[in-house]
């Protein structure tokens, strides 16, 4: 471990001048209303911000023996030293996809030949950085030049983009290899299903049980990494779609601040709330991916004029404090009311086809939800204690006024016209193209202009109250839901903190913690979780390999289950 940063250098979240920030809001809102907030349709991307020489593990300290068991940082150290070639790594992952993906259904498209060609090309060139030769799984709503990009929707069934999404282009320019495109909720709405609502992707921790939610909508991205069919992956989050599947499958998922990562070349869902980000094995890997994905893009005005991209990779390098590990920056962690209350009903983040479930399935879900909730609370208490042992101050924070209203489902629905507008021509052509996802696009037509603007005003009020209230006494808030951070664009980081046993099934499922930060607070979140992961090993655990189709007994469990339009409306993001 290295301490490359002086302790008196504050993280970027405390460099934002809040007063000027809030004053500037009104001006920029006017600019956005005048139309400058909309991105043009295509063009070349600027290269991502460069990173310094990242601290990579000593190859001699790597405990994993198989390449697919290693983190991106560990693989980078071996690829840098020539102890492994990109071609060997790609073949190792393709073999795992071949063995398990018929069961897990994490991928929509596997680009085996493209991956092999890229590996050959990279194997013949000098090591260029920590993504050089790293095979990634990319969510199927990122444009990938020459590779089918469906967003799991009939609308894009045959769409082969002519250019890459900026975020993927930057990863590729960093040396990443496209293994394939991952399953997702249709148009990024729900957990992964076919466009007509039949469940596809399984949770890697419970491949035999189709009722275990893989998390959505970046379901295939999470399953691909959790099952070690990819080194890391990308997702998008509008209402929990990175942090939710990461939580469900034991991964470290980062939803950055709005504007950190360009949305150019990503199929839009809700243009003021879509956030691209990584689903990774640990904080260091998430930092490596974000380092490449982040930065201004002339094709996305949302990325312009923001604070420069800091060194996320070194922020995620744990630091020594005396004989142990400490925090890179003094950090106060805020706990929300009810954070340790186990009485809440629910099934964890998100939902999974609740309306059409049988009474027996509902009873089982609620029982499992109660067990899961109790396990989550116990794990969170331990997580908070660990933060304190690392040197964090912990305080209880109060919810701002009108919290239930401003973060409730009605104000959350203000997003719906934003998904309708870019797809008006498709709605007029044939509503059947939306398959099971149609309802929110219809409802978006039913909100008036004044109602939409009132909702935007409420977002601003909510941000003011979060900054002045929740963050008045702390730097980081322990979250149990992506709401309201998704609504107001603040960063979130989910990470594994334990396991709960699903009674009667014998399948241990991951339990997750989640921390939220100030605008541009990714560094602090990464530093906190990297320190936590330096003294815990939850992030290193992986599920048993999934059985192959036809060779592993009954994989079905129940008949194929499908969502209907109201399921998607109630549980989708």
């Amino acid at each position: 471990m290295a301490d490359r940063f002086p302790r008196d250098r504050p993280p970027q979240d405390r460099l934002v001048d809040r007063r000027r920030f809030l004053e500037r809001m009104g001006l920029l809102t006017a600019a956005a209303a005048a139309g400058t907030a909309f991105a043009p349709t295509r063009g070349l991307a600027l290269p991502a911000s460069g990173i310094g020489a990242p601290t990579l593990p000593d190859p001699g300290s790597i405990q994993a023996t198989e390449p697919w068991e290693m983190s991106v940082a560990e693989l980078a150290a071996l690829l840098r030293d020539g102890a492994m070639s990109p071609a060997e790594l790609v073949e190792a992952y393709l073999a795992r996809i071949d063995a398990m993906d018929a069961t897990l259904k994490a991928f929509n498209t596997v680009d085996a030949e493209g991956a092999r060609a890229a590996a050959r090309r990279l194997g013949g060139s000098a090591w260029s950085g920590p993504l050089h030769g790293i095979p990634l799984a990319i969510k199927d709503n990122y444009y990938t030049r020459g590779v089918l990009t469906t967003a799991n929707s009939h609308i894009y069934a045959d769409f082969v983009p002519e250019y890459d999404a900026t975020a993927w282009a930057r990863l590729r320019e960093g040396g990443a290899i496209l293994l394939g495109k991952t399953q997702m909720g249709p148009l990024a709405t729900s957990s992964a299903t076919t466009p007509d609502g039949v469940r596809t992707t399984r949770n890697a921790w419970a491949p035999r049980d189709p009722t275990v939610d893989p998390g959505g909508s970046s379901s295939g991205s999470a399953t691909s990494v959790a099952s070690r069919m990819a080194a890391s992956s990308t997702g998008t989050q509008t209402g929990g779609s990175i942090t939710n599947p990461s939580s469900q499958q034991g991964l470290t998922g980062l939803k950055p601040t709005m504007g950190r990562v360009s949305l150019h070349g990503i199929v839009p869902l809700t243009y003021t709330r879509d956030h691209p980000g990584p689903l990774a094995r640990d904080a260091k890997d998430a930092a490596i991916l974000l380092q490449h994905m982040a930065g201004p893009d002339p094709l996305d005005p949302r990325t312009q004029g923001l604070p420069a991209v800091p060194d996320f990779v070194n922020a995620a390098e744990p630091v020594r404090r005396g004989s142990g590990v400490g925090l890179r920056w003094p950090t106060t962690v805020g706990l929300l009311p009810g954070h340790q209350d186990a009485s809440e009903e629910g099934g964890g983040p998100g939902g999974f086809g609740r309306r059409s479930e049988t009474p027996e399935a509902r009873e089982r879900r609620l029982r499992q939800a109660g067990e899961r909730r109790a396990a989550e609370v116990a794990a969170r208490r331990t997580m908070v204690a660990t933060f304190q042992e690392l040197g964090a101050q912990v305080v209880e924070v109060d919810l701002p006024p009108d919290w239930e209203i401003l973060t409730g489902s009605d104000f959350n629905n203000v997003r719906l016209p934003e998904r309708t507008e870019p797809f008006l021509d498709v709605l007029r052509r044939d509503v059947r193209l939306f398959g099971v996802s149609l309802s929110p696009w219809i409802n978006g037509l039913l909100l008036s202009g004044p109602e939409y603007l009132r909702g935007q005003r409420a977002k601003m009020l909510l941000l003011q109250r979060v900054l002045d209230g929740l963050f008045a006494r702390c730097d980081v808030v322990v979250q149990t839901s992506p709401i309201p951070f998704d609504i107001i664009g603040l960063p979130l980081l989910a990470f594994p903190i334990g396991f709960e046993e699903s009674k009667g099934k014998g399948t241990p499922l991951p339990v997750a913690g989640m921390v939220g930060g100030l605008p541009f607070g990714e560094e602090r979140l990464l530093a906190l979780v990297a320190a936590y992961q330096a003294v815990t090993d939850w992030h290193r655990r992986r599920p048993a390999d999934a059985p192959a189709r036809g060779g592993g007994g009954d994989l079905g469990g129940e008949p194929p289950h499908r969502l209907d339009v109201l399921d998607v409306l109630e549980t989708g993001q």
């Binding site: 500037r24 601040t257 504007g259 949302r302 009605d410 007029r428 909100l447 605008p519």
Partner: protein, 90 residues
Amino acid sequence: MNPTPVQELTDEELDAYIRTRLRQAGVDIGVLPADDPDAPADQRGILEGARRFLRSTPPAILGFEPDVQLVAPALYPAALGATLGDGGDG
């Protein structure tokens, strides 16, 4: 005369409003089956979801009245925090 609260409007009244609004926008849900639980989407489910939305969301939003002099409507609250304070090195 006070308008009828939306919660008291009948399903038929709301369905007529929804169908008119969709027709005005050029969107035709008549191509969907009327009532087919096995279809990916049917008119019954779409209308039910729309009625639920109309009875809840617009009234909740319009019932909340922030001070319009103090709070601007903001599309991108966090991303608009593009200003570094003095001494920021980004």
